[in-house]
């Protein structure tokens, strides 16, 4: 039995072995020079421009406009888009590295960056027509401002008040009206809502015969780009969140909003597939963000432990503290390897759904654990806003919820594993 298992696994592996694939990088020192430069640049930017201001932005719930403008100048708001559309043409691994370093400085700026890159730009880039890309990608890669002098940022509307994890139950509707679609409905929990100039929404086509059995539900969803200045489009109030407070989160309300027929992304009924594929890439971004929060927590805890004295010596010499530090670093490094693996699979154009879900699951759990432990290492100082540990704790929590809750990630992973076993054994 065992021998046959080994043979089957081997035969699964050999088809890949003959192809030229990019090797897996496991440490920063192994990265090729362009990724090293991305790492160095983002890290320096985060240290100099983000970390010193993150606490203030969190306290004021204020959108860090200047910092995001600078981020855009560096090419980080169009990081994977082709240069034909004014993008930076970098790969998924660079994106993961950039997300980690930027989020290490400020997790809110991280989510602003990831929502724009993974959730807004990607679906249009991967499925949209050339005309749609010209109108909704080229001006949105961070190098153009609108008449108000504001950067053009996008957002992605999938969740609704009535469904989050149950993405197939979308109830926003789009009605075919000759040259236009008429959109009605509300999307909830949308990041960048208050700053977005365009939104992607997954809506159902209103079909009088539409039934609610499973298959029909998914196949009835289509994706559209909606400019946020369209008549009938309004925003809900900004949510008062526990963490990532500098990014805006709100409902998008559409009341008979008219958009041109050409604003359909991909084909009718392709919306669910577009959403799922978009989330795969988005999970790499969120994993990066979670890694950044974990790293920031580790930095905070270790530096504090080296200086804080108790029982006659720095607490870094105490076993309890050393155990905590070790656990944090193992969790963070494991999650980073999973994240880089998912990114490399994506760059090699291989299937990466399972690996992206694993990365996001591991990284978000590492973030909450590291942030929790960091407060424990700091003791009382971890509980007050003088030190960033309490902000990391609040910022970390969302990573286990958005872009697929941990429970959904488990379903995705298990589903893929079960499929593999059923097919092969």
């Amino acid at each position: 039995m065992r021998l046959s298992l080994a043979r089957q696994l081997h035969s699964k592996l050999t088809p890949h072995a003959s192809r030229t694939v990019r090797r897996q990088y496991t440490t920063h020192s192994q990265l090729p020079s362009e990724h090293q430069m991305v790492y160095d640049m983002c890290r320096k930017f985060a240290d100099e421009e983000l970390a010193p201001n993150a606490a203030k932005w969190d306290k004021d719930h204020s959108f860090p406009r200047e910092a995001v403008d600078k981020l855009a100048e560096l090419g980080l708001m169009g990081i994977n888009c082709s240069s034909d559309h004014n993008g930076s043409e970098l790969d998924a691994l660079s994106y993961a590295i950039a997300m980690e370093e930027i989020s290490r400085g400020c997790a809110s700026v991280g989510v602003i960056m990831s929502a724009h890159n993974s959730l807004y730009l990607y679906p249009i880039d991967a499925f949209g027509s050339d005309a749609l890309k010209e109108e909704y990608i080229t001006p949105f890669t961070g190098h153009e401002k609108d008449d108000k002098g504001e950067l053009k940022i996008g957002c992605f509307g999938l969740s609704e008040p009535g469904n989050g994890s149950d993405a197939g139950a979308a109830s926003t509707t789009a009605k075919d009206d000759g040259d236009e679609w008429i959109i009605n409905g509300t999307k909830a929990w949308i990041t960048n809502a208050h700053e977005a100039k365009a939104a992607i929404r997954d809506t159902t086509i209103s079909n009088l015969e539409c039934t609610l059995n499973g298959e029909k539900r998914h196949k009835g969803i289509s994706a559209f780009v909606v400019p946020t200045d369209a008549p009938g489009f309004s925003l809900g109030a900004k949510e008062d969140k526990l963490g990532i407070r500098a990014s805006s989160t709100a409902n998008l309300i559409m009341d008979n909003v008219r958009i041109p027929k050409s604003n359909l992304i991909g084909e009718l009924g392709q919306g669910f597939k577009i959403a799922m594929q978009t989330l795969d890439g988005g999970r790499i971004g969120v994993a990066g963000q979670a890694l950044g929060i974990a790293s920031a927590s580790i930095d905070c805890a270790v530096k504090y432990a080296l200086e804080r004295n108790a029982f006659g010596k720095p607490i870094s010499q105490l076993q309890s503290i050393q155990n905590m530090i070790s656990k944090m670093v193992v969790a963070r490094d494991s999650a980073r390897l999973l994240t880089w693996r998912a990114a490399l699979l994506k760059d090699n154009k291989e299937k990466y759904t399972r690996e992206a879900a694993m990365a996001k699951l591991a990284a978000s759990e590492a973030a909450t654990m590291c942030a929790h432990q960091a407060i424990q290492v700091l003791g009382g100082m971890g509980y007050v806003s003088d030190m960033p540990a309490e902000r990391h704790y609040r910022d970390a929590r969302i990573t286990e919820i958005y872009e697929g809750t941990s429970e959904i990630q488990h379903l995705v992973i298990a589903g893929d594993v079960l499929k593999e076993y059923k097919q092969n054994y």
Partner: protein, 273 residues
């Protein structure tokens, strides 16, 4: 306008330097230590790019030169990502005196003089005022001497005039002085100080473009023979480092009871007259 910018790869400025007694009386730990472009060299690269931008890019060329081991190519790539156009890497092997830090200003300046002459039509050499490892501050002035070039050190402001001269504000301990470097057959040599500018972050698109910019790699031995120099002469140290040691740990301060006591203590220590 052609600008040559020599850049040095050094231990990153934020790292705490550790003396390494196993490597001889004047060595520091370099294994697994983060290395970066010398901050003053970064300022020089930034200034070159600004001059090119101010000149509306009329076919100006910025050439970054680095002398050192294989990893210097990364330092050159960073300069290219900031905006330099081309790189020259004079590669040294590990067995060149065991540690390329031993290659001293005299030898470096000789090599750079050769590069300037080989390149032809170099209008300006911009370098950092000193490197943060050896802190000699000699390479710029030595190069100017070898080239018989007009030079200004510790630049805090550089402007190019239409007639090809450079106006440089120099920061000295006694104050700022303004020097005009007249056009001559040799390129002007300017060394850059801290307050000259704040170097830019390389943008993502420029990082991608840097991959395609040409970098010529040539071994030290080949370069030396091409320039008609003598390898031993280039490598012979003119400075000898006698000792390297870590600064003594900070001593505890003293508490005093009154301002009068403070004043008398300060006078005792000769700090106040």
């Amino acid at each position: 306008m052609k600008i040559l910018v020599p850049i040095k790869r050094v231990i990153d400025y934020a790292i705490k330097i550790r003396v390494d007694p196993t490597k001889g009386p004047h060595a520091v730990q370099t294994a697994n230590v983060k290395m970066s472009m010398n901050p003053f060299c970064e300022i020089a690269v930034e200034e070159a790019i600004r001059l090119k931008e101010a000149h509306k890019n009329k076919g100006d060329e910025i050439v970054a030169v680095s002398i050192g081991p294989k990893q210097c190519s990364e330092t050159i790539r960073t300069a290219l990502a900031m905006g330099a156009d081309r790189g020259i890497h004079i590669e040294t092997k590990g067995d060149v005196r065991g540690d390329y830090v031993d290659l001293q200003p005299w030898g470096i300046a000789k090599l750079l003089k050769g590069v300037v002459e080989k390149e032809e039509n170099v209008d300006l050499v911009l370098c950092g005022k000193q490197s943060i490892d050896s802190d000699c501050g000699q390479t710029g002035p030595l190069l100017a001497g070898f080239l018989n070039a007009p030079q200004a050190t510790f630049a805090a402001k550089v402007t190019k005039e239409d007639d090809g001269s450079f106006i440089v504000d120099r920061e000295t301990d006694a104050g700022t002085e303004t020097i005009k470097l007249l056009p001559s057959d040799a390129p002007a040599v300017i060394t850059c100080d801290l307050r000259l500018n704040t170097p830019r972050y390389p943008t993502m698109p420029n990082i991608m473009k840097a991959k395609k910019k040409p970098v010529q790699t040539i071994s030290l031995e080949d370069m030396v023979s091409e320039l008609g120099l003598d390898l031993d002469e280039v490598l012979k140290p003119k400075n000898q480092v006698v000792e390297v040691y870590e600064p003594p740990p900070r001593k505890e301060g003293e508490f005093v009871e009154s301002v009068d006591e403070l004043l008398s203590k300060l006078k005792e220590k000769g700090v106040v007259g």
